[in-house]
Symmetry: C2
Subunit: 249 residues, 2 copies
DNA sequence: TCAAAAGTGTTGGCCATACACCCATGC
DNA sequence: GCATGGGTGTATGGCCAACACTTTTGA
């Protein structure tokens, strides 16, 4: 490669950050954790939690640290995976900032009390955020959308849906996760057959939980399986309507 | 966030690069494009092609530019998608370098003649590279492995397998792509049924191609479909043996 | 020169499985 | 009303056999 560079060839250093798309299910609705920005740019606007990557930590470690700082929870109990990097030159008016987005899935969590962090973090429903394109600062709206699609896709082929549930849960709890994340209604009978047939996905605890009304439901604990065999596919209509497909933007 | 930082808290700028995992199928074997490094570190070692992201370009643009520089081909004719970011503090001995890896899939391409670029780029079979863990410089062995798994997964749910084929191709050509990338044998009859049933995947050209021996095969052109409905799933054994699953490393 | 063999693509059938839809039952 | 379980028709996939078309081989 040539070592002499013209002005257009200039390569400078960039700031590296991580941003987190943290989903949970509360009140039968998908929520995402957002913070209210306390400084310019985008002062007062909602944004995804995140921060700078330190010199001595990996990207994964930075994501875990930010997760702990923003939610007060142990990231090792959540599902956490890298989404992708976003680095358009103009995405941050302060200069070149490349952010590595992470997707986190967890059960309905107690929020960090106000004061543990300067920024006020809170759960907000995802749907309204998707409809208003400029609801989030920077390009966080795009990141949120791609995080949602990744989460929807992950539910098909992996067992991460259980990450949305507490320690023990019923098949109906798990089904509600799928229904809320995918935005569809699922047949309880077929759903039960599929998730109980999958090996090492659900481990019966032997206990039962009595809902306000109706027959007591069996309680399960999460099994060691990571991949779903066979996968729980969204039906054609759902997949076509929601999937964005791969490729460059 | 606190503005006072201890030594451990230090956040500095990082260099941003893109690296490309470029796959093709030649002689019924999966190949990847590698270059031989012409300077330290890892002088003389094989590496994935890539380079620095310029100040005024997006990550995608940098990937397209590097692809053109290294292969001499128009990246818009290939399938190109971001894999993920790699940024461990020690991955480059020269300092903090965060690289954004891209996956590219294309038909068997003429290589750039020696001299267009200082580095000698060439196709090498993937399998031996996987078996020798330190065959590639930096953490490129990890990137290659994750790129391969992504490619294998993409073949299941999308129509990108056609990106490995020339303008017009036969069903058997397409089947060989699946067999080579997945490393399995597929039933010709079932494969034909599935790919021809998928809507807008294959468009018959009306022409036929006569192989060295045997019945002439119908020629197809790639259709506009991006997603495969229904998907062409790897069977349980194959998926279990090859898939790495999501999550942090 | 012609016929048989070999090789590859193409088509269709059979069967087991999996799923969607529906209904019955327990609490 | 909700969880659970079973039953049935349909769709799909795996396996297999037959057929179509061409080149090669050899008498």
């Amino acid at each position: 490669m040539a070592d002499s560079r013209t002005r257009r060839d200039r390569v400078g250093a960039a700031a590296i950050t991580v941003d987190l798309v943290i989903f949970t299910v509360r009140d039968d609705e998908l929520h995402v954790l957002v913070i209210e920005r306390g400084k310019e740019p985008y002062l007062g606007r909602l944004a995804l939690p995140g921060g700078h990557v330190r010199d001595d930590e990996t990207l994964d470690e930075a994501a875990l640290r930010e997760l702990a700082e923003e939610t007060g929870l142990d990231g090792r109990k959540l599902h956490l995976e890298q989404l992708r990097a976003y680095g358009d030159p103009g995405r941050d008016p302060r200069g070149r900032v490349v952010t590595v987005a992470y997707l986190a899935l967890g059960p309905d969590m107690p929020l960090p009390v106000a004061g543990t962090d300067a920024r006020a973090a809170r759960w907000v429903p995802v749907q309204p955020l998707l409809e208003e394109s400029a609801a989030l600062a920077f390009d966080h709206g795009v990141i949120l959308r791609e995080g949602l699609e990744r989460a929807r896709s992950r539910l098909e082929y992996t067992t991460v849906a259980a990450a949305f549930c507490p320690e023990t849960f019923t098949v109906a709890d798990l089904r509600r996760v799928y229904e809320v994340v995918w935005g569809v209604r699922l047949d309880p009978s077929n759903f039960r057959r599929k998730v109980t047939r999958a090996e090492r996905f659900l481990i019966p605890t032997g206990e039962r939980r009595t809902p306000g009304t109706g027959r007591p439901a069996a309680l399960y604990r999460r099994g060691p399986a990571q991949l779903l065999h066979p996968p729980l596919l969204r039906t054609g209509d759902v997949a076509r309507a929601q999937s964005t497909g791969p490729g460059l933007r």
